[in-house]
Amino acid sequence: MKNLQKLAAVLMAVMVVLCGALLLTHEVSAASEGKISGTVKYEGTPPHMRGIDMSKDPYCAKANASTSPHMENVVVGSGGGLENVVLYISEGLSGAALSQPATNVPVFDQKNCEYTPHVLAMDVGQTFKVTTSDQTAHNIHPNPNPMTGNIPWNQSQPPGAPPVEKSWKAPEMIEVKCNIHPWMHGWFAVVKGPYATTDANGNYTISNVPPGNYTVTAWQETLGTQTAKVTVSGAAPAKADFTFKGK
């Protein structure tokens, strides 16, 4: 505990010094047209994803009658691409790229008693929407650490319920659950600045990155994080590929 506080104090001191240095320099970039793109792969045999028994709610069971629903903690595509990895810039951002949250409204849908997408990435302060396409009641219950400034809430969404619109105050990977359907489990990945999430092939592109030197972080809910250094300079997207190794 003490150590954490010391760490925080040191970090703060470092920040103040860095910021001072930044204020003294004069380079600034107005336009933000650059991109960072790449592929995230999984190396090794993908872990077994447990099947889900939805028989307690006949609606959910019926909606999944022709598929075999399973957990989505690690989703590996045919070419070894890793889905649902969140990529964001953990170091090097400044100026407009940090101060204006994205204005589009990402949507987290409850569909066939699962979360679509399983991981919803968003910027701090960006409005997002939780919707339901199901004819069974859900309750949407994110569980952040209140000490970060993100406060947990819990709202019901019966069939036909209007969307819930919210935003988060601080960067945090927040677990989302439905208490009615205990297998429903997803994430709000709240980051600062531009971000992207990998598709089914593990591909991603972070847009609106001003030229500069950055550290990109790739976050996967069970495999953890990895970082890479990139330089964004002009028209061609900067490249950053990642590989998460299995056991």
């Binding site: 069974t136 009641a137 000490m147």
Partner: protein, 290 residues
């Protein structure tokens, strides 16, 4: 000029962003001392945290602990566990889910106690003592220093109980699916009941309407209304404020009375009507369409 302003703003933001790291660790004595001036305002009474030190040590510390983290010496033997005040999350609120309770809410809770837990009703205290204890409870959490309580939900005047309203309440119970957890007869045996957990991952039972126990957050008609419109934060019990209209909410309160064991006007009417538990196989009705 503009650029410099931008940068200095950014730097302030960056420094502030690192700051929460400090509070991710448990709160310390120094944090508490910094908030010892915390007040509460309940009616015409102003509570002062400082003045509650003796009462807290004498009556509360055994469960809620020195640091208000719920780790008092009774912690191992108490279930549900004493509340950790540092998190600033409370079950009994007149305010929307995800917001802080009002001082009045906390004072009401202390006076009422929490049924089906080791937290007894503290009706021996004067209003001043309760107000001081509320300020003391608040001083444990950084949230009360930086956030205002939510705006209490509006509860319209209670209408007359009628057979039609009870029947309409039964439809609301079916439509928003309270029965998923509470069961169609209110016996806390719905299909999702056995897997419920609180926010700290501890098993928790849904409220059983039929066995004569009192709701933790009050048992008047207004209390019932408030409970399902605000939810019990930190538990699976969600807020229904977006999905039940004020008039329907009263219908639902009347229907809940018919599930409870205590004799009531509602219960008598339900018996006359021969009201059956809701049918969970009936097709779901989208909201707003009855």
């Amino acid at each position: 000029m503009r650029i410099t302003l931008h940068k200095s703003l950014l730097c302030t933001a960056a420094v502030v962003m690192v700051f929460p790291l400090a509070s991710l660790a448990q709160q310390t004595k120094a944090d508490f001392e910094a908030r010892i001036g915390m007040e509460s305002h309940i009616g015409h009474v102003t509570g002062h945290a400082k003045s509650a030190q003796y009462d807290y040590r004498r009556y509360c510390v055994g469960c809620h602990g020195d640091r208000g983290d719920g780790m008092g010496e009774n912690f191992p033997w108490v279930d549900p566990k004493p509340r950790d005040f540092q998190l600033g999350i409370f079950k009994c609120r007149s305010t929307p889910t995800g917001t802080l309770p009002t001082d009045q809410d906390l004072s009401d809770t202390i006076g009422r106690g929490l049924d089906r837990s080791n937290m007894p009703p503290w009706n021996v205290f004067t209003d001043q003592q309760k107000a001081d204890l509320v300020a003391w409870v608040k001083h444990f959490s950084p949230r009360f220093a930086s956030e205002k309580p939510g705006t209490p939900i509006q509860i319209p005047a209670e209408p007359e109980v009628t057979a039609d309203r009870i029947k309409a309440g039964r439809e609301v119970f079916a439509r928003v699916q309270c029965w998923k957890c509470h069961g169609v007869t209110g016996e806390a045996n719905g299909p999702s009941a056995s897997t419920l957990q609180d926010d700290l991952g501890r098993p928790i039972a849904a409220f059983n309407f039929t066995e004569g126990s009192r709701p933790k957050c009050g048992s008047s008609d207004q209390d019932l209304y408030r409970i399902f419109m605000t939810g019990l934060d930190g538990t699976p019990m969600p807020s229904f404020a977006d999905n039940i209209k004020p008039d329907e909410a009263w219908d639902l309160v009347f229907y809940l009375r018919t599930l409870m064991s205590e004799p009531s006007k509602e219960k008598a009417i339900a018996k006359q009507l021969g009201l059956k538990p809701v049918d969970t196989n009936a097709p779901a009705q989208p909201s707003g369409q009855q």
